[in-house]
């Protein structure tokens, strides 16, 4: 920091930022607290904040009623699988667009983005019929492919903007040294693009993890991920706030933790070419 910051100012900014931060985080915090209350305490008037009998009974109840490990495993496989598959297809495409741009490159890129606007429910019946014909309903592979297709445009675009930041001279120098296309990608390009690829992967895991239309409608038992798990707790008979909170925490905790550990990467990498 070149400028001298007065301590008062720093304290002021700190207070303001923390106030906003806690405000944004509050719904999650409240869900977290509620998940440890009894059902009666969860709706007590006035609300109880910290001083209640902390209990794990909700987590036990949720655990007993559904197969959480299986849903979690499905979520992980589907989110990671679709992201990796997407990266595999998108890296070459984005590389080519960034370094060998043709007249049509921009049009192709924009067209790809426009496929993202396909409203899901409009193509529900065609897709279900297709999946049944192929015999892949309720399989993870189906969801991996569908979610990959949904997010591919975003992946291509993000990678494209990262690749464009890489100076072309370096590539030309590599080429002069006789590097082939393959080694050019592996030894020169990839290390430079790695931060960009990493944040693309992160963002897409989040998007795939949270997708709640196809993951519910295309699955029953074998491939049902956490979104379907939540759908069995959303409005049962009787008091359910505490159990719903516990189930919610179980559904979002893995991705929340992943997000927190990688937030630096996300903050640095999520530019979409917004920063020149």
């Amino acid at each position: 920091m070149a400028r001298a910051i007065t301590p008062q100012k720093k304290v002021m900014w700190t207070a303001l930022a923390w106030a906003f931060g806690l405000l944004m985080f509050f719904p999650i915090l409240w869900t977290f607290l509620t998940s440890f209350k009894t059902e009666a305490a969860a709706i007590s008037d006035p609300p109880v904040w910290l001083f209640f009998d902390w209990t794990l009974e909700n987590y036990a109840a949720v655990q007993e009623r559904s197969n959480y490990p299986k849903a979690l495993m499905n979520s992980i496989i589907i989110a990671v699988g679709s992201t990796l598959l997407g990266i595999l297809i998108a890296v070459p495409a984005a590389w080519a667009m960034a370094f060998v741009p043709g007249r049509k490159t921009k049009d192709i890129l924009l067209w790809m983005l426009s496929t993202k606007m396909l409203p899901a429910v409009g193509v529900l019946y065609p897709l279900v019929l297709l999946a049944k014909w192929l015999g892949v309903m309720d399989s993870r592979i189906l969801l991996i492919v569908v979610l990959m297709l949904i997010n591919l445009p975003i992946i291509v675009w993000m990678l494209y903007t990262y690749f464009r930041e890489i100076p072309g001279e370096i590539l030309e120098a590599a080429r002069m040294d006789g590097a082939g296309l393959r080694s050019e990608i592996i030894y020169v390009l990839t290390p430079m693009a790695l931060p960009g690829i990493a944040s693309t992967v992160l963002l897409n895991i989040i998007l795939a993890w949270n997708e709640a239309f196809w993951t519910i409608l295309l699955t029953t038992v074998n491939a049902a991920p956490l979104t379907a798990f939540i759908a069995s707790f959303s409005a049962p008979e009787g008091l359910f706030y505490a159990k719903l909170s516990a189930a919610s925490m179980m559904a979002i905790a893995p991705i929340l933790i992943m997000g927190w550990f990688s937030q630096k990467q996300l903050v640095r990498g999520l530019t979409f070419g917004a920063v020149k």
Binding site: A2, I5, K10, W13, T14, A17, W18, F20, G21, M24, W30, T31, T34, D45, P46, P47, P92, A93, W95, F99, V100, K106, L110, M112, L113, S114, L118, P119, A120, V121, G122, V123, Y125, P126, L152, I154, V156, G168, N210, A212, I230, Y241, S245, S248, I252, L256, M258, G259, W260, Q263, L266, V267, R268, L270, T271, F272, G273, A274, V275, K276
Partner: protein, 288 residues
């Protein structure tokens, strides 16, 4: 600079992505197009392959169509407005020197990781609920009559939920842009006695413009297809039916696949019009 060899290699590398997306676009879309001209009502066991433009005529003439269009625009527009103004302020704030910057950042971006179904459920039951929601306790605490958000201000409630989810995303992108701001230029302006508002208007905002267009584009793509938040909170009641939701009702609740498919095609066309419009703006930015 590019040789003929690398050009063909490039085409070869773009091909898989283009191919899978084409297949994705064409097969379901063509089937939807086909259904949209058919009288397809599985619950009745009806399937007549060609009924002309009847479905389209019905979809357009239905009184819910225009309403849903207006609702969609309101919803997307308001959310964009909130997330962008909020995002700019949040990004500027997070860039200031402070204690525990990392933790505050984590707190702010956390909502982005929450799945839409969960956040809608949590907001609906634990905040908006007029009997047992936190907002009602707050109202009562101040001696006020609890306010029933979901029926009195349904659109607003949904906007709040979705904006809460997307504000972190806008903040993240804008923050990267703020961090790349030339601090010397700002300091010089400060030395020259330019007031804070002028510094914001003439230095910061122009610098952020590109990031803002990116946020608008990405968010619009996602916001046009909002579904879970409406499904969970109001189920389309109280005038919260967006175009996407209307198509959902036609397809799944009324079990009229033909009519729903026509609606789906209309939604694709409208979304593409918006997309082309947005991309003109962003496309310009991509050139620079």
């Amino acid at each position: 600079m590019a040789t003929a060899h690398s050009k063909s290699a490039a085409r070869f590398m773009i091909a898989p992505a283009v191919f899978v997306l084409l297949v994705w676009m064409l097969i379901p879309l063509c089937m939807t197009l086909y259904f949209s001209f058919a009288d397809y009502r599985p619950m009745r066991g009806v399937f007549e392959a060609w009924i002309g433009f009847d479905n389209y005529a019905r979809f357009f003439s239905s009184s819910s169509f225009i309403k849903s269009l207006v609702t969609t625009l309101w919803m997307v527009g308001s959310i964009l407005l909130i997330t962008i103004t909020g995002g700019v302020m949040m990004a500027l704030l997070l860039d200031k020197p402070m204690f525990g910057q990392g933790i505050v950042r984590i707190l702010v971006i956390a909502p982005f990781f929450v799945m839409p179904t969960v956040s809608a459920l949590v907001w609906k039951n634990m905040f908006f609920n007029v009997d047992n929601g936190l907002f009602s306790y707050a109202y009562k605490f101040f001696g006020l009559q609890p306010y029933d958000f979901l029926s009195q201000a349904p659109l607003f409630s949904i906007i709040i939920i979705v904006a809460w989810q997307w504000l972190p995303f806008a903040t993240l992108i804008l923050l990267t842009a703020v961090q790349s701001l030339d601090s010397e230029q700002l300091e010089a302006a400060e030395m020259d006695g330019a007031p804070a508002l002028a510094r914001f208007r003439f230095i910061i905002l122009p610098h952020l413009s590109r990031a803002i267009t990116v946020v608008i584009l990405i968010q619009t793509i996602f916001l046009l297809s909002i579904f879970a938040e409406i499904f969970v909170t109001t189920n389309g009641a109280f005038g919260t039916r967006t175009l996407t939701y209307l198509v959902y009702q036609r397809v799944l609740e009324s079990q009229n696949i033909g009519l729903g498919s026509a609606g789906g095609i209309v939604a694709v066309i409208l979304a593409n019009i918006i997309a082309i419009f947005l991309m003109r703006i962003v496309g310009k930015n991509l050139d620079n």
